[in-house]
């Protein structure tokens, strides 16, 4: 699974969560740039991502992902296998 695949999956999850099909995520997108993506939705997003990719984030990581790309890379690093 490439980073782009992960990115599209994340986009689908977020669109679903926020009920907004117009959301576009790029590797450098920051949470503040997406309308309604506040801290409440963020944690729900992270848990949905955990379920989807079967990974487990550290709480401190969740706090400090600077942008979507960091999340993608962390997922890629945590996933078992390739």
């Amino acid at each position: 699974m490439t980073e782009n695949d992960i990115l599209s999956d994340l986009t689908i999850i977020l669109r679903d969560l926020l009920g907004d099909d117009s959301i576009m995520l790029a590797m450098d997108t920051q949470r503040e740039h997406v309308p309604n993506w506040d801290s409440f939705n963020y944690i729900n997003f992270m848990v949905a991502v955990e379920q989807k990719f079967r990974v487990k984030f550290k709480v401190s990581d969740i706090e400090t992902f600077p942008n979507v790309g960091a999340i993608v890379r962390q997922i890629a690093a945590l996933r078992p296998g390739a």
Binding site: D21, N36, V59, S60, E63
Partner: protein
Amino acid sequence: MLFNSVPFIFGFLPLVLAGFYTLGHWRRDWAILWLILASLCFYAWWRPLNVLLITPSILINYVLARIIQHRVDERPGIARTALIAGIVFNLCFLGYFKYINFFGVVAGDVFGVNMVFANVILPLGISFITFQKIAFLVDVHSGRVTSFTLKDYALFVLFFPQLVAGPIVHYREMMPQFHAAPCRFHADDMAIGIVLFFFGLFKKAVLADSIAAYVSPLYADAAHGAQITLFHAWIAAIGFMLQIYYDFAGYSEMALGLARFFGVKLPVNFFSPLKAASVIEFWQRWHMTLTRFLTAYLYNPMTLALTRRRMARGAPASSATSSPSAFITLIAFPTIVTFAICGMWHGAGYTYIVWGFIHGVLLTINQGWRALRRAYLPRRMVIGSPLRFVGRALTFLSVVAAVVIFRAPTVGVALVIWKGMIAINGATMPQGYFDHGGVLVWILQTAHVRPDPSSGMLFIAAWLWIAGLLAVAWTMPNVLQILRNYDPALGISALAPPGEKQNNWLSWRPTTAWSVSMAVIAAAGILSLGQLSEFLYWQF
């Protein structure tokens, strides 16, 4: 020492800055030591004994942080134990000083036990310091802070601008700036610091203290058993909201300004919260560093743990709003618990916990509304201006209603004022208006408004103040927006609230017009520090 006091502005501050810049000219290290010493003096000014209390706490935290730092890789178990020990120690420290008297009250109420503790006095800023120290230990444990000295740590805890009323700063936000700071006089920093500090002083000393004069007597009367009627109840509620608004805005800006004098930028803590269109947005603009802390260290871990546990037990995946039970477990419960704790953090008393609880419920309702909106409204609908206006009005009313119990000395007093706000205690207006006769009296009588012995002039003055302060809070750009070209605080670029035109019409530049304006603002603030006490009763 308060920031808004003559000894601070004319004594402590110039002395510390002069020493800092002079020593920094020779060696940075001396300037930093001077700053630590000054911060200790600032701390000791309130009560010299406090220094003896805070110093062991600093040392213990430092030692634990070192243990964590050295053991986290090979012996994670020990590191983890040290982390937990540190968190527990800090919370107990806070718990003892802040809550021991309240604990006695609760024990008395619940068990009928009469426990009186020798009046324990709160060391300065302990609520803020505690959270900062906890965050530091977590940062060391997670590897986000990798090197630090005792000097660094001491400065981080004691740095006086953030000591009194925050913001709650992360080590990794502040100390790199100190390491890079030239520690010399820098006209840019001085100019921006002046704007921030004196705007803040003006808000606290002139605006907040003025409306407070109308608000405090109402709560005092209610505490003495008076029935507060409709219009006065709303003065008490909106008036106090504005008082605490300008108080906190003022203090936050003064903190930013003071730090800037030393070449350091603190994180933004207050960003026109009464412009928020939802309670969720309110907490992203009010006491932002507290929201940040509670979200990161309380709400997120709690929600994450609950969600994972739910899923481990086979509950269906997908969002927390997919079913009522999911909503309750994953949103309502953590939100209410987090904000009940937030309430408790603000003060040791039932009223604060209830206030926190109310906000927890408001936020939960807000989340529920958002979920319903997502489910039932068309997906691409943009939140337009009219809906945003309704949002602002509802948010305003909610936080105003909630703030009553934050201010009221007891739950009973809050109930009196709440009843007043919905006209259960009737509506009255000052006797003086009824004496003027004419159409006004007819209107008042038809509306069942009765006369009361309060002063007509003070009544009007209170409403004029409220109108003016609301106009400013709702329409004017805040100081951070005015200084937008000069990077006044950390984290501002992330604030781009949707659906709101940027208040771009007022912008600071180092012009003569601004120097004169700032001089007037500074003078007004400083001249409001001294008060000749008035004697109002001359008839006897």
